[in-house]
Amino acid sequence: EKKTEFNIAWTIYVGWMPWPYAADSGIVKKWADKYGIKINVTQINDYVESINQYTAGKFDGVTVTNMDALTIPAAGGVDTTAVIMGDYSNGNDGIVLKKGQTLADIKGQKVNLVELSVSHYLLARGLSTVKLSEKDIKIVNTSDADIVAASKTKDTTAIVTWNPQLLEVKSEPGATLVYDSSKIPGEIEDLLVVNTQTLKDNPDFARALVGIWYDTIALMKDTGEKGKAAREAMAKLSGTDLAGFESQLKTTHMYYDPKDAASFVTGPDLVKTMDLVRGFSFEHNLLGEKVTSKDAVGIETPTKTLGSAKNVKLRFDPSYMKLAADGKL
């Protein structure tokens, strides 16, 4: 139905820090007013909980990675559309060994990571490059909030995690970063997704979101004083300082230009990536326990629809980013 008030949730991650900054600095209000709506930007401390709450219908939009968008809301039957392709991880996720210098040394070790998350995906992708499989290691599920502390203990030798934890983990004396997401560029994508039904009924909502986003990251990119102030505020919000924030930004490939983002979504790489992701997800039962093939949940991209066309639950829609690129907002 048509609404005038919308809720989106965000969690702390370098690629999503523009959202709270936009809310604080009035950019959200500016764009919402323009379309005559109201947008509430809510911080959730726990990433999984934010997606769960979106899936349960408490939020109209949420910040999420491509894999989690598929396995949580989409597999949970909530038709979801990605309207903003914000960035991809270009080194923000990594595998760190305390014993060993190369990825192959991971064989036989206990690996601490958040099971079934993008870390797990990264590990699976990494293992395949050195002809190992998950059977060759032992996975210990470790919560993201505690993984830094866990990495400090003696019995922890291998860790897969993301930033900012990754920065802490790899700075440990004797730790080596043996594999990171820059080896699989574009596969770990950070999105803003909204409920497809809400989107259909309220296209202005998506327009406002896109407007907010590109206004804000333009500021973020700015090399002058204004940009620095914005980045500093974002750093503070994420609990670190400017230097820490910028070092995380370095390993994040931001799509500052809406044109680039739109063309990535329309390109063939997205299909390839999503096929890998759904394969991984299916193998790990993430598409649901009764699902018998990876085609069960349909994924629609501008170029091709993967899996069941009757049950499309995850859509990538570049049209709003295109509007931004064309300055038609």
Binding site: V48, N52, T55, A56, D68, T71, I72, A75, G76, G77, V78, N112, E115, L116, S117, E134, K138, I139, V140, N141, T142, S143, D146, V148, A149, A150, K152, T153, K154, D155, T156, H284, N285, L286, E289, K290, K313
Partner: protein, 269 residues
């Protein structure tokens, strides 16, 4: 106050709220399903039954384990260890603090302060000291519930009728003997009562510990599948935990009644 329901009425009364809750759940679930046929938040009972069957009877695709049983075994072992050690520590420290003014002065404040430290907040330090293995999970339970046990028992010991302690001393008891022959047996029913109350928190700490770093256990599974909101796994697991805890509670209460009949005279109204 004087209306005592009969045996049959008692059982019906006890069932009533559960039946009500079940009905509310079924209606809620049906409503959500009507709106979204893939809804995972409130799965219908039939679906939970199917999932439970799989968890109980089919080996896991990846590991080949019977998931529910390995999880239960791992968790119960940790729980038993944690509760056992806590009970022992609670008993010893509680009696010492309650009975001996010197110990009370020395440890009373310490225990009061320690019991206020939220264990979750100092987890990193616990990890460093106790490692990340089984030990740290048991330690979290111990750290979480021992201070409460100690405080409850020491307050109870301090509140024992003074006459009894004096009487025991006039019978020739040393402080140690007062502790083990007079205070200990009289405090045991209280310990059991207290342990019964602590089953809930113990499971809570266990689950939290397993959520943080583990590769098996009931809490591990719940937090693992929370990632994709599989309430059809979570809810049966929660029900199972609740059942386990309730059985443990019943068992403790029976043990208490058997071992300390004198303490339950009063209750038999």
């Amino acid at each position: 106050m004087n209306v005592v329901p009969g045996r049959g009425a008692r059982i019906i009364l006890a069932m009533l709220p559960f039946i009500l809750i079940a009905i509310i759940y079924v209606i809620g679930s049906a409503e959500r399903r009507a709106a979204n046929p893939d809804d995972k938040l409130l799965p219908p009972v039939s679906e939970m039954v199917v999932t439970s069957k799989r968890l109980v009877a089919e080996p896991d695709r990846r590991s080949g384990d019977y998931v529910l049983w390995t999880d239960t075994a791992a968790s119960l072992r940790r729980l038993a260890l944690g509760l056992g050690i806590s009970a022992l520590a609670g008993l010893i420290l509680g009696i010492a603090i309650g009975l001996l003014p010197v110990a009370g002065a020395g440890f009373g404040t310490l225990v009061a302060v320690l019991s206020m430290i939220p264990p979750m907040a100092v987890l990193p330090i616990l990890f460093i000291v106790f490692g990340l293995g089984e030990l740290s999970k048991v330690v979290l339970i111990i750290v979480g519930i021992t201070p409460m046990l100690v405080r409850d028992i020491s307050l109870e010991v301090a509140g024992m009728p003074r006459e009894q302690l004096i009487k025991a001393q006039t019978l020739g008891a040393s402080t140690w003997q007062v502790a083990i022959r007079v205070v200990l047996p009289q405090i045991m029913p209280r310990l059991i009562k207290c342990l019964r109350l602590m089953i809930g928190p113990a499971f809570l700490f266990l689950i939290s510990a397993e959520a943080i770093a583990a590769d098996a256990g009931l809490g591990y599974r719940i937090f693992l599948v929370r990632r994709y909101l599989s309430m059809d796994v979570i809810l049966p697991y929660v029900a199972w935990i609740t059942l386990l805890a309730y059985l443990l509670d019943l068992a403790l209460s029976l043990i208490g009644r058997r071992a300390f009949p004198w303490a339950y005279e009063q209750e038999a109204r």
